[in-house]
Amino acid sequence: MNGAHDLGGTMGFGEVVPEVDEPVFHSDWERRTMAVTLAGAMLGRWSLDESRHVRENRPPATYLTSTYYRIWLDALESLLLAHGLVDADELAGGRARHPGADGVPTVSPDTVARVLSRGAPTERATHGSPGFEVGQAVRARNIHPAGHTRLPRYVRGHRGTVELVHGVHVLPDTNAHGGGENPEWLYTVRFAGTELWGEAADASVEISVDAWESYLEPA
């Protein structure tokens, strides 16, 4: 979706402000939100792609004025509701009113240790051969999907060069919406800064994105 989350190239945000001796968390609720969000994901009912889409799928003004962990907490509540794990009256009342859904395993410290050490690899068994090769000229398609996608607007329609081939990875565009993993070849595609931002741009800059095969066409 062409949402406010797709920030590459947007102007007006001012300077980047590094914080001296930044703590890992700035408040107790942020720490708790991080932990409960990860634990919620460990219930295994939604993918990382779906959770990303729930976070980005909100009115631009809301997205841009919500704090980072506020978006996480809003998204977690939405996901728990959508997957029938928690009911609206429970969120409204701030306490459990119904038994937990059947067949949901409890997240334990062992679950945490296993998930943190293994992660959730997105690479799948290779099928066929890649449609593009390193060094090949490609163009990012001019597409504007209404749902989740990982092709940022600032590269769409632009010509780049394949720099790396990463194997076959789960396609977020379908996986975020319950449409299956549909793994595709994944590439790092490099663009000249002047290709993306015009001839007046800094010619010493090159930018890459990681793009699934269906995001690309020969150039």
């Binding site: 945000f13 590094p18 409960v36 962990y69 928690v86 409890t106 410290p109 790092t188 010493s204």
Partner: protein, 229 residues
Amino acid sequence: MATGGPVPGTVPGVGDTAQTDHDGAGHPDHSELGPMDARVRALESILVDKGYVQPEALDEIVEAYQTRIGPRGGARVVARAWTDPDYAARLAADATSAIAELDLGGRQGEHMVAVFNDAGTHHLVVCTLCSCYPWAVLGIPPVWYKSSAYRARAVLEPRAVLADFGTELPADTRIRVWDSTAEIRYLVVPRRPAGTDGWSEDRLADLVSRDSMVGVRPADEPTSVGAPA
């Protein structure tokens, strides 16, 4: 093992003095106050009471990212690469496996690529679409990495972003920006500072800041960590 308690027990290093900063004005990526705390505690107790999550699991997640998983891991990788050319070659060829040699990896580090700064090229990592970051080797991303300003500008005017960090590069240095749009996670290997010949890996790792592994600063100079022991 389950205690049935509504909220996690002890959380290490809880220093809530920082909770009073940032009213959000001008810094919407920073913290909020009060109501959020009540909301997240209520959600925790709902999930615990419905049998979905053990409180100790939440403690375990916090403990991991507050004390074990952080930029010291990435610094060990860089210091090893600086001192062991064979390791550096393995890191360049297959970063995920080379990083696993140091017992690092896992969540948000499943598919790693290491990129090496040199005299001609400087690498910078961003996630314009959200906040993808190599948690397995750098821990939780800092606020600036998640900020709208960084996500918007790193791909448009990386030299100006570097200047915000006090980093100035020669005009002919190629700047290579990596936008993390998939599940590939990038680790920048900064250049080894001069004056560190013969240093141990542990001493070298002290020079490798988180920021240098994202690419917004060089590695620290040896003067910054005091005289040799």
